[in-house]
Each structure stands twice: as structure tokens, then as C-alpha cells.
Amino acid sequence: MKKRNIGRNILYVILVGYAIITLIPFLWALSSSFKTLEEIVSGSMNFIPKDFTFDNYKTIFVEQELFPRWLFNSVFIATVATALNLIFNSMAGYALARLSFPGKKALFVTILAVLMIPAQVTMIPNYLILKELGWLNSYQGMIAPSMINATFIFMMRQFFINFPKELEEAASIDGLNRFGIFFKVVLPLARPALAAQTIFVFMGLWNDFMRPLIVLSDPNLFTLPLGLNTFKGQYISYWNYIMAASMVFTLPVLLIYAFFNKYFIKGISFTGGK
């Protein structure tokens, strides 16, 4: 039995050690966001600030008047695009799973193929198309290209294929048409799949760096990652401000995670090719 204890201790060393490695950058950033500039510059290694201050947070909102704007842009774009994704991906997944129409197979293969194509190939033409449409520097330029997601169309199709047909049949006897059935019966029952999708799509949009970098050049329309990058350029070496801004930016996703935690792991095993 002694042997087993040694094994267990080694496992704990691995687990705790890696937890520390994971947490240090976050704790360091958090503590730096409450430090004064002098303490930042001095290169001290305290995790607990000497002069604890909220000034950094106040300053970034006051001095950089665009900061609330960036926050709003990020929230707006990510929320609207996520909502559209939920509806459109589910509709497409449902059609591919349940309805028969000519060209269905070809469409499904196309969607699978899209999954394999790196975004860099479509990045340049997308820019030119948005330019032609006059959608550069606009919300729709950010939202329209990302309002569906091939991965989640595929996931929803898998979900609806296993969905009990009897429920829909019962609903159609009750006189609901196809759309009524979809929105009133099918979608509410797809909630677990939708929750997993919400987190991934929202996170992807919220954290996206490349698309806003290409589509947006007007600072008023920047999303937070882009704003953060600009901010870093303006306040080089003001790491107390940069860390405060980073913390503000991280919080919303952490809250969503805390809220949907349960579905998260499920969602990964879903997308994880199972």
C-alpha cells in the first residue's frame, strides 16, 4: 500500500505544480493592475501590491475615452453574431438532418470541406468583397461573415439526427407547421447543444484578433483585442494600465464560463470529433 501512496503524491505534485504554473501569469497580471507605476518600474516581485490602488482602472476609463466604446463594440458584435449563429446553424443543421431536398449531400460535403480550409485563403478576398459592399469599418462587416460556423452546423446536424422523430410528429398532428415545430418544439429541446455552441462561438468572436484587424481601421469601431493592442502601443511600459485593461477584458468571458461551466466540457467533447 505504500507504493500506491507514493504514486498518489507524485500525481498531486504534478497537479498542484501545474496549477501554480497556470495561475502565476494571471495572479501577476491581476496584482500588477493594482500597483502604482513606481512599483511596476522598480521590478519588484511582490504579488501583493505595496500601495494598493484602483487608479489604473479609473485612468483607463477616463484617459482613454474610447475604452468604453471598445467594450461596447465587442459586446455588441459578439452578442449579435452569437445569436445569429445559434439560429442559423441550428436551422441549417436541422435541414441537413431532417429534410430532404436536392443537392443536400453536395451541401453537406461542402460544409465539411470548409472546415478544412485555413482562414488565410479567404481572408484577402473577404477584405475585397467587404470593400466592394462598403462594409469595411462597420458592424455588419464584422457580423455578416461570421454569422454561421461550419463546425457548429455539423454539430447541430449530428444532434438532430439523434433527435426523437415522434415529438415532431406529435406536434404536426397538433397542427403546427414546420417552422412552428422547429422554433417551439425542436429548438427548446436542443438547449444543451445550444449552450455549448454559445460559449464557443461567443469566445471565438470575443477573442478574435485577425478579422477586426483587417476589417476595422476606425478606432471608434475597434473591438477590445484591437483596442488593447493600440492601447499597448500608446502606453508602452505603462504595464499597470495595460494589465488593468487586460483584466477588464478577461472578466466577461470568465463570468460566462462560470455560468455555463457544465456545458463547456460537454461541448469540447462534442467538437472533439466524437
Binding site: A19, P25, F26, W28, M91, I214, T250, I268
Partner: protein, 299 residues
Amino acid sequence: MKRKYSPARLREAGQGYLFMSPALFVLLLFVVGPILYAIFLSFNDVQLLGGTSYKFVAFENFAKILDDTRAKVALWNTFKYVVIVVPCQTILALILAASLNAGLKGEKFFRIVYFLPTLTSSAVLTLIFMWMYNQNGLINNLLSMIGLPTYNWMGDPEVALNAIMIMNIWSTAPFFMVIYLAALQDVPDSLYEAAELDGAGPIKKFLYITVPNLRPVTSFVVIMGIIGTFQLFDQSYIFSGGSGGPNNSTLTVVLLIYQYAFKNFGTMGYAAALAFALALVILVATLIQRKFSKEESLY
């Protein structure tokens, strides 16, 4: 098959297209259309002054890749990055998942902590690490405290890419860990029990039961890793302020594509050609990986 055009079938087909219409719209306008457009671009010289003008140059853009020293540097950097990061993050993810799966107390806590980097945006993580990589920042202070040499992480061309590698192994491994964790649930307990009867210790069990049983998942994780690492962009861009410096040491293929497409004038067609070259490299790399692992099940 006379019923093919019955009203009910026609109506169902109509509903099918209606349900597909938003997805179709986006696919055509922003995916399939652009792929064809990208093929066209890659065979043209593209000028963006005022309107967009094209001049057909056949394979010139592709031929140019071979003479472009920066493209070679970018490809070499990206290649080094893939070859080091993919195995490291895969092994780390596997070890973490197996440790978490051992049924110790506090599993849930560790899982939540480990997942933090996956949730945080690449922009934030890069900034946090840049702050830690500072000349008299946390990492150098820790290194000198335990008597190790310190580095100019962001300024020295010899180490800048390594700094990004460390950061990204740290930030991506937990995501793959979760995939491994889900797969570990499917490994039958009876296998471990049988091994225990034969007197196998934890390390033997890990090597002879866990690792072989997870092979299909490992293949998936490696392919996802290859696809992801070849597309390294955010971290390099933020780290170097978009330049790929110091001395091109953090220049990746995608960063180069970005520079040619959006920062330099008149090289958009060339950038499109580079993007196709990258897609080809990724495709070949995944095919090679599949050949090696001889695993057909997942993709």
C-alpha cells in the same frame, strides 16, 4: 419513383432551402466565392489604388515564393514552431489528463484552473507574457533567483520565438487536455484492473493501457495541433508590433501573408499565392501525420 414531384416532397424541399438559406448566403458570399476569388487573385497582379485593378501574370506569384528570402525565413520559423510546439503540447495535455483522471480529490478545482488560459484571449495572454518577459520582469527575476541565466526575451532574435513557443504550449495544452479527459472516460476500467492483477504500477499502466487506448484521440489532437500551429499569427503580431522582428525571428507565414496583403502595396496577388502555398503545406503535413499514425477513424 413517380412520387418524386409530389406536393409534399416539393414543399419539404422548399422548406429545406429556406432553412438552409442564411447558411447558403454566407457560404457563397464569404467562403466559396472567396475561395474562387482567391484562386483568381493568386494568378494576378493586384493594385488597390482607388478601385481594384488586375493584371494576369500566370504563375509568376507562385514562382516568386521560391526567390523570396523572407518567405523562406517565415516558413522556417513556422516549421520550427510546429515541430516543437505540437509534440510538447500533446504530451503535456496527455499527462495532465491522465493525472486528473486518477480520481484524486480536488479534480474539479484543478480542471477549472487549468482551463483559464483557454478562456482568455490571445491578445490578453500575449500582453501578460510580454510583461512577464520584460527585461527586469517576473521571469528573469525568477530565473536569476534560482541562479539561471536571464534572457532578453523580446529583443534577442535567438530567443524571441522560443518565448512565443513557451507561451503557446502553456496556453493550448489545457484545451487538448479536455479532449483527452473526455476520451479517457471511454477506456474500460477492466483493462486497468487486469493490469493491476498482473502487478503493473501507475507508470506501466499509463504507458501500456492509457497511451495505446488513446491513439485515435492523439491522432486527432496532433492534426488539430498542426493545423492550429501553422496558422500562428496573433501572438507574433502583438509580440513584434506587426513587424515579425527582432530581425524576422518571429515572422510566421500568416504574418507575412498579412503584411504582403495589407501593409505593402501591390503584393495582394502574391499574398493570395502564399496563402494557397500555406494551405498546401498544412494539407501535406496532416497527410504525413495520418500516414505515420495509420489511424483512419477520425477524419
